[in-house]
Amino acid sequence: MSCRDVRAMFSEYLDGELAPAHARFLARHLESCAACRAEFDALRCALEMMAALPRESSPDPIATRVRERLELEARKPAVRHLLRPGRPLLRPRFAPVAVAAFCLMALPILMVPVRPTVPAPAGALGFGSESRPLSLSSDVLAPRLTQSASLDDALAGAPADRSWFVETVVTRDGRVSAVRVLGGDAAYAAPLADALRQERFEPGRFQGRPVAVSLYRLISRTEVRAPST
């Protein structure tokens, strides 16, 4: 195999998609060929620089702009038709309610600030690290709860029929680095998030190695019945 053939495999090699025999061959070649090694290091350097691009936020909140625009379109049928020939934007029955609810919901959607408890060492390209947790899927083994949090105090006084939609980032060492309450009664969001940070897990795994995982959970109250004896 020529150096050119070897370099053509770099991309798949980095993604771990190369057949084991090819991967071994490539690794051996890199040990003995300085030119290919330099090329490979350069490729890795470029991809790491790209992965290190900072996450930016919009000059002004997008949610607000979207809401205002929908509001405008709902209020002015003429404008609506100009903007959207053919299809009605909102069912008329729904429009005014929609706008009102959208405004109200601006408050209950809480983004509880991320509070990292573990420094994130930079992984190869950062996926599965605390700043880029993986979501559950068929190839990601879910974290298993080893120490549950007591939610009694946090939810004391909450009506029984309430539920909360929560995202929890479980780190590679089984701690909780972030909790975001994405939906549910805002009054309990902060104490609930604080309580959930006390949870500990057997970390999630991807291809056998521990990874940070984003868990989406619905938290609700259940009725506890005394034993019938």
Binding site: S11, V99, I109, L182, S220, T222, A226
Partner: protein
Amino acid sequence: MAAGEFAIATVETLGAASAERSLLEQCRGGDAAAFARLVALHETMVFNLALRMLGNPDEARDVSQDVFLQVYRTLGRFEERSSLRTWIYRIVVNLCRNRRRLWMRRRRDRSVGLEDLSARDESRLAQGGDSPYDTVRRREQAERVQRALLALSFDHRAVLVLREVEGLTCEEIAHSLGIAEGTVKSRLARARDALRARLCAPEATR
């Protein structure tokens, strides 16, 4: 514990997929609050993808707004063959492509918004314990990467950003771009090589 008391909270893990499905159902049922939640969940990723594709924060903000308006209007047509996320990525890429075409027609290169971006984000980029030197260095590096990205073709830039920044699998990228998975892999290899040539020539790293 007394009978009938509400005392223990159950925690049900939904998995991203079923959480998403219930959110979608609520949105389709006309629940504006659910749609607001959908926007909040995807806002950062939409803005960042648009920003890396266009290189200009104001353009990226405008495209992001259009993306969610289009999501709102076409939710009924979304078929759950792919995830909501990859479907939204597809809309972002398409709208960015349209916007670029518009620029070409106007013969105006508005992709040079890097200075605005770096000035505004200087403070945000600063991290705890960083010296001003680190901050400047990080900003310069981000600018270099962004410039290199903008010098690539639109298609190369799209696969790179989806893969290296957003962390999509090749299968998800195939869904997002509406191309075959094999095409994604070969395009990704070429795009990575093009980026390497612009950012880290071997001579420079030795």
